[in-house]
């Protein structure tokens, strides 16, 4: 699917936010930033407290019963017909593409299809549904963008992240060599096949650094953890953060509401 073939909904008044377990534990500020970016568009954001994990780790490891058990709980989180926004292409892809398969032939099939049909990745939602417009409040900076494979392929968000960044006057976005190549995360792959994963992430870090960026923004926390973690371990001058956090820090100056 191409981003252009997708039919985005009208901008809604309310959305659900599915934070993902990595954001929950390691990058909650990215989650808060994502929520604020949505609120900035005049949308009321609901964060169901009963959310846990989309089930993907078990799913891709082949343990589909266990994945289904966890996914079943998530099916009950979104009773209203509002869009579900996810700050991750990978977990978004799980909801959007794998839930229907996981629940196919079960009593939950219809619910899974309904949820799949209204799940969107955060940056595509901000750009295409909200029509977000940003004025840069930050100092000049050079960054690279890392779009996860699942955001690009499964969620087909196209260049949404790049177009959001392009609105920021003081931000120079560099292009890396082989930008579309996987960073080598792949969930349990990183620990099951550590040497292959390391070869991949090391190439990724090198090409970002060679492009002249000292920091990068990522649409997914898995890749972020992998790339930034490798750079830190090997002493390469590269810091990373989630794209939501990066964007929010650049635009928040204009919308200080006293709580941020």
């Amino acid at each position: 699917m191409n981003a252009t073939d997708k039919r985005y909904p009208e901008k809604p008044d309310q959305v659900y936010f599915f934070g993902t377990c990595l954001v929950d534990l390691f990058y909650p500020r990215a989650g808060v930033a994502g929520i604020r970016l949505l609120e900035r568009e005049g949308i009321t954001v609901h964060f169901p407290q009963n959310q846990t994990c989309c089930g993907q780790p078990a799913y891709t490891s082949g343990y589909h019963d266990q994945a289904r058990q966890v996914a079943t709980v998530q099916l009950d989180l979104f009773p209203e017909p509002w869009p579900i926004v996810v700050p991750s292409g990978s977990c978004g892809g799980m909801l959007r593409h794998h839930y229907p398969a996981l629940f196919s032939g079960t009593a939950h099939e219809e619910k899974a299809r309904d949820i799949a049909g209204r799940t969107w990745e955060l940056t595509e939602f901000l750009l295409h549904v909200c029509g977000a417009r940003y004025t840069d409040q930050g100092p000049p900076v050079t960054v690279a963008l890392h779009t996860s494979c699942s955001a690009r392929r499964e969620m087909a968000i196209g260049d949404a992240g790049r177009r959001l960044l392009a609105q920021l006057g003081n931000v120079t976005v560099v292009e890396q060599d082989r930008e579309e190549e996987c960073c080598g995360f792949g969930g349990t792959f990183a620990v099951r096949h550590p040497e292959i994963s390391a070869a991949m992430v090391s190439d990724k870090v090198d090409s970002i650094v060679a492009a002249g960026a000292e920091q990068f923004a990522s649409t997914d926390c898995g890749c972020l953890m992998n790339i930034a973690g490798h750079a830190e371990k090997t002493g390469k001058p590269l810091a990373g953060e989630h794209l939501a956090g990066f964007l929010w820090d650049r635009v928040r100056g204009a919308d200080r509401d006293g709580t941020s």
């Binding site: 954001v23 929950d24 407290q49 082949g62 995360f185 990183a190 991949m200 992430v201």
Partner: protein, 478 residues
Amino acid sequence: MSATQTPVQAFHRRVHDAIHDARIRANFRSAMDGLMSKRRTAFADWDLERLRELGAAIRQRALTRLPDLLEELERNCQANGIRVHWAETDEEACHIILDICRAHDARQVIKGKSMVSEEMELNHFLQQHGIQALESDLGEYIVQLAGETPSHIIMPAIHKNTGEISELMHEKTGTEPSRDVDYLTAAARSQLRERFMQADVGISGVNFAVAETGTLCLVENEGNGRLTTTVPPVHIAVTGIEKVVERLEDVAPLLSLLTRSATGQHITTYFNMISGPRRDGELDGPQEVHLVLVDSGRSGIYQDDELLETLRCIRCGACMNHCPVYTRVGGHAYGTTYPGPIGKILMPHLLGLEATSELPSASTLCGACGDVCPVKIPIPRLLVRLRREAVEGDGQHPGMVAGHGVKRRRWEVAIWRLWSWLHARPGLYRAGIAAATRFRWLQPRRLGAWTRYRTAPRLAPRSLHALMKARASGGNPR
């Protein structure tokens, strides 16, 4: 490789060696970069999506009617004077070919490129029975000189650079060392030309077997395929049963997809359509043409609609060219006839999961392969399916693939059960992460293989759940 290694250990050993071999890394990286850019250019003016849809539909239609089409193919081949043989196993196929060779007192066989014959280890088998088989495809010729196996299904010697090839040819054939590719090619050609004339039998593969007309299509660039199938008095074509297509008109779109996906060519230098032995009054062509159709595990795949998609493959190699794992480890690390993504989804069917259980897991599921596959095989989905087959296969989930359940370990099942138990109980989950973030100073600095190459991610002081809860009750979500 020591005999006591398990297939899993052997795989990791080969990967380790390849990753640390600078030459392998450099050769594959530059070759794959080149192939990717050629493919991009070749499809630049095409509605690639539509063409892929068409290619997928043609192949799927052929597979859905596979038993019928194979019978039709047999009938029409026979009507054309092609003798058709069926082999259930590699061994059977080897024996069929041996028998044909013996019937003609063959001592020397010349071969065009055939991956199925690699599957069967045909050269080795013939050698054991006193028949010399010489590879005539340049890449295969080099691989044979080196005593190796192909590292890529389209470019068998892609793991070697020009310098290595020159050294090898110098050592084995006395060719003057040179970095000039044309010179080396010419040298190999002149050595091969002789052998074509002497060969008693020519053996080739098949790219598409057309049921409607009983035609065998062969795609190649060097002319060696044409010589193999026309100069010796006997031609044996050997192929997997899945290579059949229904109609002649199906060939054109598949050919367009194949050559562009494989090498970025609009068309190959040679495209052979073989429709039988030499007829009365014709000046050339073999006196006998045989077709050996090999099953070797393929019909097992046929039982399952999802797995069946594996057989759509037209062997273009694009999935490996675009695979970030293949690019890093090269073809030999896989240890199987077909490397790369297609190997990971095909080999478990041909060899069983006991020998191949590590292959489906050696992927990030990045999806590059599925994206470029000209017949839209959902490779990542099939990888997940095979991962499932590798851990399932108890009473509740009868496995489909031979060796299913081979990776099922009690402790691993227990971990996933615990994981799902916790994540299916939101209250407990929240309590768990509250504790984890609160006592985050207890977080180990080392996390096995993860922290060998990366620092550990740091637990946040407060989870998103906690921040949002505080915010809902009027707090400050820092």
